[in-house]
């Protein structure tokens, strides 16, 4: 018999209907399903123009770039729009390589999420992907502690990368060590290596601030957005830098040097503008914090800890993560399979409080039941 429970046929905000006709609360993050103002904006644009013909400029594209300049701190005013956050991260690396073509080393905080394109995978992987990395011919230096900063050949470093949370060797979700991040920025500045903050999944309020990097003091040289930016309607990603940095690499050459055929298309840009409108109008940062607290408080007896709208939940004893995820699914809650011994619950940005509370109780009941059985 075909397994239909992996299928989603419809949804609204945090809840979807699966192929078996069951309502499931999705705790895998993102913006949320079929959020009306986003869908309406995209629908209107689809009636005017889907993809842009001219590869280059369209009014929604420029409106989005202008909006990001208003929202991001100075000097981050020049944005490049890509087909996804993953592509935007590689775009940001390409910008860094354009600034320092002879550099060959990428320094990065270990345990971050750098996306699913090739460079991102090489950094996200616990171990080197040597076949691919050797082919591309770059070096990577992973940073876990302050002492690691001394192992870097800074003269060869062309980019320094961090996401705004990391998952440690045990699969535990953590915010970054503020002191480590400040030192990383300082050393990068000395070496004239731009710092890229990968805010792909942590943007738009997920961590309790409009952008995830705002949880920390230093302002990065380049910010990468994506994930929920498309309002869970159309994939889109952006990277934003200073006007000066953009000019240095792209100011005197064809605009196609950084572009692609469908990146920055009007429908995707309209989706992002509507998503940004929504999070500002609904104070989504606060909303995400409150949802995270709801989950964490209910699940506190199991050691749950909130990081904005995300919650880290350690697994007791020899509890099998895949079996627990399956049991939770049977109760109506979807959680992405964990990488280690912690479940990471991510409330979608538009999740409704009563549904999150319901999910919290379902998880609590399931965990209690599973643990009782195990005992």
């Amino acid at each position: 018999m075909k397994n239909n429970n992996k299928y989603i046929v419809s949804g609204q905000y945090e809840t979807y209907l699966d192929g078996d006709g069951r309502q499931i609360i999705d705790l895998s993050g993102g913006f949320g399903f079929q959020v009306p103002p986003v869908i309406e904006a995209v629908s209107r644009q689809a009636d005017i123009m889907g993809l842009s013909n001219r590869v280059l400029m369209s009014e929604p594209l420029i409106a989005l770039c202008r909006r990001l300049a208003e929202l991001l701190p100075a000097p981050l005013v020049s944005s490049y729009v890509c087909s996804s956050g993953d592509e935007a991260f590689e775009g940001a690396l390409k910008l860094c390589k354009g600034l320092k073509p002879k550099g060959n080393t990428i320094v990065f905080i270990q345990g971050g999420d750098y996306g699913a394109l090739t460079y991102g995978r090489c950094l996200s992987a616990a171990q080197d992907d040597l076949a691919v990395q050797n082919f591309l011919g770059f070096k990577r230096v992973a940073i876990r502690h302050l002492a690691d900063l001394d192992t870097v050949d800074w003269s060869d470093c062309f980019a320094v990368c961090h996401s705004n949370t990391r998952v440690d060797a045990n699969g535990r979700l953590q915010l970054l060590d503020a002191a480590l991040l400040e030192q990383l920025h300082a050393r990068a500045a000395q070496a004239c290596a731009p710092v890229i903050a990968v805010d792909t999944h942590s943007c738009l309020g997920s961590l309790g601030s409009l952008f995830g990097f705002q949880r920390y003091r230093p302002v990065p040289d380049i910010v990468v957005l994506g994930g929920p930016l498309g309002g869970s309607a159309i994939p889109i990603g952006t990277y934003t830098c200073s006007e000066r940095m953009a000019w240095q690499v792209y100011g005197r050459s064809s605009p196609a040097k950084h572009g692609s055929t469908t990146a920055g298309n009007p429908m995707a840009c309209v989706a992002a503008l509507a998503a940004l409108d929504y999070v500002q109008a609904h104070d989504s940062s606060r909303h995400c914090l409150e949802n995270g607290q709801r989950l964490a408080q209910t699940l506190a007896p199991f050691g749950a800890v909130a990081v904005g709208g995300w919650v880290s939940l350690p697994l007791a004893g020899d509890l099998q993560p895949s079996l627990l995820c399956e049991a939770l699914y049977q109760q109506g809650v979807y959680i992405s399979p964990p990488r280690g011994r912690e479940l990471i619950l991510r409330c979608p940005i538009t999740a409704r409080p009563e549904q999150i509370q319901r999910a919290a109780h379902l998880i609590k009941e399931t965990l209690s039941h599973v643990l009782t059985q195990a005992a």
Binding site: S10, G50, L51, K97, G103, G115, F135, I234, S260, T262
Partner: protein
């Protein structure tokens, strides 16, 4: 909230917040910004209408805002636009099945992506992992496989490499269409050959008959994987569903995009042959199958576009109308041999190979004045660039005759220009990004 802004303000915002060089290009070329599209036409901010023969280098195969595609997009949008990672939508399976039936060959894994470059990157990781003892990749000079950082490592337009310090010693570049060069390059240590079955971009070139079949045989004999990049050629653009069909070749991996989007969303896919997928399943070679591609909206758009192509016999129309267009272009090439070198291409993937980039810029401008968009070089530097005509496949013979008349008028206008004026314009074209903005700002709007 209206997004409309006065044109000059839009260019100022473009300069500061998106791309200074794009703003310059728009100012220099007095290029308009499109605001509406419909069928073969685009309408700019002043209300002027253009016949679109650029089509984002092949995206708008079924025309702009095709009613069949639009309706299915709107229906899907109201139902479910997106699914999170690890979840599926029935349309993904439906599209996979459809593509496996449509693309000649026997296919195993079908992986959906957001962009062609992303699909190229995935295929690159795959071929490097399944044959780890082989490290070299062979690509064709002038070929284009996307401009993300990893995809650029196999870019045949190697002038881009120096700006980013990209040095991939494991990549061998051979002249396109030269089988003897391929025989020398493909052998021990080569894991894959990447090829556009018809070379796209400003270097537009159809290979000699038998080239792809010989390449397939060479790959078979040496255990090398053959990756066909049909991003530009697929879905009828070249007068067949896929360009590999000209030589009856089945590659090991096929990459598709542009025409697949239906003109609505960014979309691409990579098909892996059944033989490969059985031996090296994608789920084992790359267990982390995260991608932003294949959301229900994109799948609905792609399925609708394929239906439309099939139901309206667009592949045959591409062949017939392509013949009409090429015949007309060849006639003009004979009349203006000092401007036009030849007319490469097949189907509705054709263009004028011009005797220098100055003529490409002049032709683009003259055609723009006459309400025709053509595909001019953005990425590549070709000494003899091809100004491309890639109209929607449902363009009528009457519209094509009108396009040909406008091309003729444009060639006449350029021919009448004094040689000195052409030379001066050439200098401007070469240095356009260095021109001060104050020279270019529109007086009436500033």
């Amino acid at each position: 909230m209206s997004l409309l802004r006065p044109h000059e303000q839009l260019l100022d915002d473009c300069q500061r917040h998106w791309s200074a060089s794009a703003a310059k290009l728009y100012r220099l070329g007095k290029t308009s910004v499109e605001q509406q599209t419909d069928g073969i036409h685009v309408t700019d901010h002043t209300g002027k209408r253009f016949i679109d023969c650029a089509c984002s280098y092949g995206v708008f195969i079924v025309g702009h805002r095709n009613p069949t595609v639009r309706e299915r997009v709107q229906t899907q949008l109201n139902q479910l636009a997106w699914v999170p990672e690890g979840r599926r939508h029935p349309l993904q399976d439906k599209l996979s099945e459809r593509l496996c039936q449509l693309v000649p060959g026997e296919w195993g894994d079908v992986q959906f992506m957001v962009s062609g470059a992303e699909a190229v990157e995935q295929s690159l990781r795959y071929v490097l992992r399944v044959q780890p003892q082989r490290r070299r990749i062979v690509v064709m000079s002038g070929s284009y496989h996307g401009k993300t950082l990893a995809a650029m490592s196999i870019l045949g337009q190697q002038q881009h490499h120096s700006s980013y310090g990209i040095a991939c010693p494991e990549v061998t570049c051979v002249p396109y269409g030269d089988f003897a060069a391929l025989q020398k390059a493909v052998g021990e240590g080569v894991c894959a050959v990447y090829v556009e079955p018809i070379l796209g971009g400003a270097h537009l070139q159809v290979p000699p008959v038998g080239y792809m079949a010989n390449l397939r045989a060479l790959c078979d004999a040496t255990g090398t994987l053959l990756v066909a990049d049909e991003i530009q050629t697929g879905f009828g653009r070249c007068g067949k569903w896929f360009a590999v069909q000209y030589d009856d070749v089945v590659p090991d991996i096929m990459i598709l995009s542009k025409g697949l989007t239906g003109g609505y969303t960014s979309f691409a896919c990579a098909l892996y042959s059944r033989r490969l997928a059985t031996q090296y399943p994608l789920s084992e070679i790359e267990p982390d199958t995260r991608t932003n591609g294949g959301h229900p909206l994109a799948c609905a758009s792609a399925l609708a576009a394929i239906d439309y192509i099939e139901q309206h016999n667009l592949v045959e129309l591409s062949r017939v109308n392509g013949g009409l267009l090429r015949h007309g272009l060849q006639r003009l090439a004979l009349r203006y041999p000092h401007i036009v070198e030849d007319v490469p291409g097949v189907g509705l993937m054709t263009g004028l190979r011009l005797r220098g980039s100055v003529y490409e810029a002049l032709m683009s401008m003259e055609l723009g004045k006459r309400g025709v968009h053509a595909g001019h070089s953005m990425n590549e530097k070709a000494e003899r660039p091809v100004l491309r005509f890639y109209p929607p496949l449902n363009i009528t013979p009457e519209a094509l005759q009108h396009v040909l008349a406008m091309i003729e008028e444009s060639l006449q206008a350029i021919d009448r220009r004094p040689a000195l004026a052409v030379k001066a314009f050439s200098l401007v074209v070469r240095n356009m990004y260095l021109l001060p903005n104050k020279w270019l700002r529109s007086k009436e709007l500033s």
